[in-house]
C-alpha cells in the first residue's frame, strides 16, 4: 500500500506542472497588455514600455517562466499589478469567506442529503423515492444563481428574514457570520444535495441487497439498526468519493455564489483579477484552486484505501 501511496503522490507532480504551464502560457499568449491597463488612458507609449520592463514582461517567455517557478517554489506568489500588495496577503484575506461558504455548504448538504438518500433507498419504488429522485434531477439543473435570486427575492426582499447580500467576518461575531451565510450556502448546497442524495441512494440500495443485511434482518435486528449500523456504514465509501467530484462543482459554485451575494472571497477576487488582467493574482488563484482540487482528490484516494480494507494495491 505504501508503494501505491508513494506513486499516487508522485503522479501529482506532472499534473501540477501542466497546470503551471497552461496558466502561464494562457496569460502570456492572449492579446492584451497589462502594462497598458495599469498605466491608464493618459499614459504615453514610453510610460508603458518602462512599465513593461519594470513588471518583467520584456524578458523572453522561458525566462519569465523560470523566474515564476523559482519564486513559486520559494513561496513567493508575486505582487498584484494593481493593489501593489503581495498576492499571498490578498489570498489570505479571501480565504475566510470562501472557506466558510464552502464548509457551510458541504455540511448542510450532507446533513440533508444522506438521510434523504437513505430514506429513498429504504422506501425504494414508493412516492417518497420518486420525490427524492425527482428533486435530484431538478436540483442538478437549476443554476446556483437562479436559486440564489429566488431565495433573495422571497426570503430577503419580501419577508425580510435575511440580509440581501454581504458577509460578516467571524471575528465580528459568530452569530452574524452564520446568519449571513444561511442564504448563500443554501443556494449553493442544492446541487450537492441532489448529487449526494442520489449517490447515497444508489450506494445504500446496493448494500441492502447484500447477504449480511439479510442475516441482520433474519436475526431480528430492528430496521433502524440494520439501516444505520450495517447499511449506511458500508455505503459510506462511495459517498466519500463523491466529494472529489463535488469539489470541482464547489469551486465554480463558489465563484458564482460570491458574485451573487457579494461575498469578498477568493471567487470575487478571481473575477476582479481576470477582468483587470492582474497576471500575478490570476496565476496564483487558478493555481491555488487547481492545487486544492488535486490535493483533495489525492486525499480521497488515500482515505479510500484506508477506509475500505477490500481495496488493495
Amino acid at each position: 500500500m505504501w508503494t501505491y501511496l508513494f506513486k499516487r503522490i508522485l503522479a501529482v507532480i506532472p499534473v501540477l506542472l501542466v497546470v503551471l504551464v497552461v496558466v502561464f502560457l494562457m496569460l502570456r499568449l492572449t492579446p492584451g497588455d497589462p502594462a497598458a491597463n495599469i498605466a491608464g488612458d493618459a499614459a504615453t507609449s514610453e510610460d508603458i514600455a518602462e512599465l513593461r520592463i519594470e513588471l518583467g514582461l520584456e524578458e523572453p517567455l522561458p525566462v519569465q517562466f523560470a523566474i515564476y517557478v523559482r519564486n513559486l517554489l520559494k513561496g513567493d506568489f508575486g505582487e498584484s499589478f494593481y493593489y501593489k500588495r503581495p498576492v499571498i496577503s490578498m489570498i489570505a484575506d479571501g480565504i475566510e469567506p470562501t472557506l466558510s461558504l464552502a464548509l457551510f455548504t458541504i455540511v448542510l448538504a450532507c446533513l440533508v442529503a444522506v438521510p434523504l438518500g437513505t430514506l429513498a433507498a429504504y422506501k425504494q419504488g414508493t412516492w417518497i423515492d420518486r420525490l427524492v429522485m425527482g428533486f435530484s434531477v431538478v436540483g442538478f439543473s437549476v443554476p446556483v444563481f437562479v436559486i440564489g435570486y429566488i431565495l433573495i427575492y422571497f426570503l430577503s426582499v419580501k419577508l425580510d428574514w435575511f440580509p440581501v447580500q454581504g458577509y460578516q467576518h467571524i471575528a465580528d461575531g459568530i452569530g452574524g457570520w452564520a446568519y449571513r451565510l444561511v442564504l448563500p450556502s443554501t443556494a449553493l448546497s442544492v446541487i450537492f444535495i441532489a448529487l449526494i442524495a442520489r449517490m447515497t441512494r444508489t450506494s445504500v440500495l446496493e448494500v441492502l441487497s447484500e447477504d449480511y443485511i439479510r442475516t441482520a434482518r433474519a436475526k431480528g435486528l430492528p430496521q433502524m439498526k440494520v439501516l444505520l449500523k450495517h447499511a449506511l456504514r458500508n455505503a459510506a465509501v462511495p459517498i466519500v468519493t463523491i466529494i472529489g467530484i463535488a469539489i470541482a462543482i464547489l469551486i465554480s459554485g463558489v465563484v458564482v455564489t460570491e458574485s451573487v451575494f457579494v461575498i469578498p472571497g477568493l471567487g470575487l477576487l478571481t473575477l476582479d483579477a481576470i477582468q483587470g488582467r492582474d497576471y500575478p493574482t490570476v496565476q496564483a488563484l487558478i493555481i491555488l484552486f487547481s492545487v486544492v482540487y488535486v490535493v483533495i482528490n489525492l486525499l480521497i484516494d488515500v482515505i479510500y484505501t484506508l477506509l475500505d480494507p477490500r481495496i488493495r494495491y
Binding site: P143, V146, I245, V255
Partner: protein, 324 residues
C-alpha cells in the same frame, strides 16, 4: 476519480442479479436488444418528458418572429422597467403608434423581456450544440489516437489530467476575458475544459476494445491501423459519445449563462439568457422579472437535456458512468 464513481443505472441492475457489467456484457445487451432500442427509448419516462420539453424550447427558434412582433434589441426609453403585463407603446415604420402587452415586462433599457427570452433561446441552444459537437469531435480524435498509440498516450493523458485540474469555470472565464468576448471565443472557452473528459472516455473504450479477439484477429491478418480504428473501434464509441454529448450540451448552456451572467460572456447586445439576467441584476430587488423569466427558461432547458441524457444513458449505454 470520476472513474470510481459508480454508475447508478447499471447498479440498479447489478443490485438485482449480475455483478459489475463489463464491457463485453454491455455490448451483448446492446446487440441483443438492438431491434427494440427505439421503442425502449420512447417508453422511457425521462426521454418522453425531456424530449417533449426540449422540442417545445427548440420550437422557439423558428417560432420567435411569430410569437412577438418586437425586436429583442430595440431600446425604448419610455418603456423602461415596466412590470409584466404592462401595455408598452411602440412605433412602426410609418410612425403610427401601436400597443403591445409586455408579457414578461421590460428591462432597464425598455427592451421587451419576452422578445429577448425567446430570441435568447437561439444563442443558448446554438452554444450548447456547437460545444457538444466540437468537444466530442476533438475529444474523439485525440482519444482514439491516445488509446491506440501507447507512446502518445502517456504525454497526452498527463496534459489532459493537468487541464482537468483547472476548474472549468475559471479556465473559461480566463480564456474569454483574455481573448475578448465574442460568440466564437465563448464557444471555444467552453469547449476546451470539456475536451479532457471526452478524451478520457474515448481512451478507456479504446483500451478495452483493443484487447478484444476480433481486433487481435484484424491485426493478425494485417489490417491497416486506420481501418481498424474506423471499422472496429469507432462504432463502439458512438453510443457513449451520444450520451456524453448530451450532458456536455446541457452543461455548456449552463456555463454560457454563467459566463454571460458574470459579465465575461457573449457581448451584452446579443440577447442570451445569461445576458438578460446580468442586465437585470442592479434593479433586481424592484424588478425581479428580468432575472426570473430567463432563469426559468434556462432551468427548463438544462433540465430537459439532462433528463434526455439520463434516459439515453439507461437505454443505449448502460455501462457509462455519469460525468460532470
Amino acid at each position: 476519480m470520476t472513474d470510481q464513481f459508480p454508475d447508478e443505472s447499471s447498479q440498479q441492475q447489478t443490485a438485482a442479479d449480475t455483478a459489475v457489467i463489463s464491457a463485453e456484457s454491455a455490448e451483448a445487451i446492446e446487440v441483443r436488444e438492438q431491434p427494440s432500442v427505439w421503442s425502449r427509448l420512447l417508453r422511457h419516462p425521462s426521454v418522453i418528458i425531456g424530449g417533449l420539453l426540449l422540442t417545445l424550447i427548440v420550437g422557439l427558434v423558428p417560432a420567435a418572429p411569430f410569437l412577438t412582433s418586437l425586436d429583442p434589441t430595440d431600446i425604448s426609453p419610455r418603456n423602461r422597467n415596466k412590470p409584466p403585463g404592462f401595455m408598452t407603446v411602440h412605433k412602426d415604420e410609418e410612425g403610427s403608434k401601436y400597443e403591445v402587452k409586455a408579457v414578461m415586462g421590460t428591462d432597464k433599457l425598455g427592451r421587451d423581456v419576452f422578445a429577448r427570452v425567446i430570441y435568447g433561446a437561439r444563442v443558448s441552444l446554438m452554444v450548447g450544440l456547437c460545444v457538444a459537437f466540437i468537444a466530442v469531435s476533438i475529444g474523439l480524435l485525440i482519444g482514439l489516437l491516445a488509446g491506440y498509440f501507447r507512446l502518445l498516450d502517456a504525454i497526452v493523458m498527463r496534459f489532459m489530467d493537468g487541464l482537468m485540474a483547472i476548474p472549468a469555470i475559471l479556465l473559461a472565464i480566463a480564456l474569454v476575458s483574455l481573448s475578448g468576448a465574442s460568440l466564437f471565443t465563448v464557444i471555444m472557452a467552453i469547449v476546451i475544459p470539456e475536451i479532457p473528459r471526452v478524451v478520457r472516455l474515448v481512451r478507456s473504450i479504446v483500451l478495452s476494445i483493443r484487447e478484444e479477439p476480433y481486433v487481435e484477429a484484424a491485426i493478425s491478418v494485417g489490417t491497416p491501423t486506420p481501418k481498424i480504428l474506423y471499422r472496429h473501434v469507432l462504432p463502439n464509441t458512438i453510443a457513449p459519445l451520444i450520451v456524453q454529448g448530451t450532458f456536455i450540451c446541457g452543461s455548456a448552456i449552463l456555463l454560457e449563462a454563467i459566463l454571460s451572467f458574470l459579465g465575461v460572456g457573449v457581448p451584452p447586445e446579443i440577447p442570451t439568457w445569461g445576458n438578460i439576467m446580468a442586465q437585470g441584476r442592479d434593479l433586481f430587488q424592484i424588478y425581479p422579472h428580468s432575472i426570473f423569466y430567463p432563469g426559468i427558461f434556462l432551468t427548463l432547458t438544462v433540465l430537459a437535456i439532462n433528463m434526455l441524457g439520463d434516459g439515453l444513458r439507461d437505454t443505449i449505454d448502460p455501462r457509462m458512468s455519469r460525468e460532470f
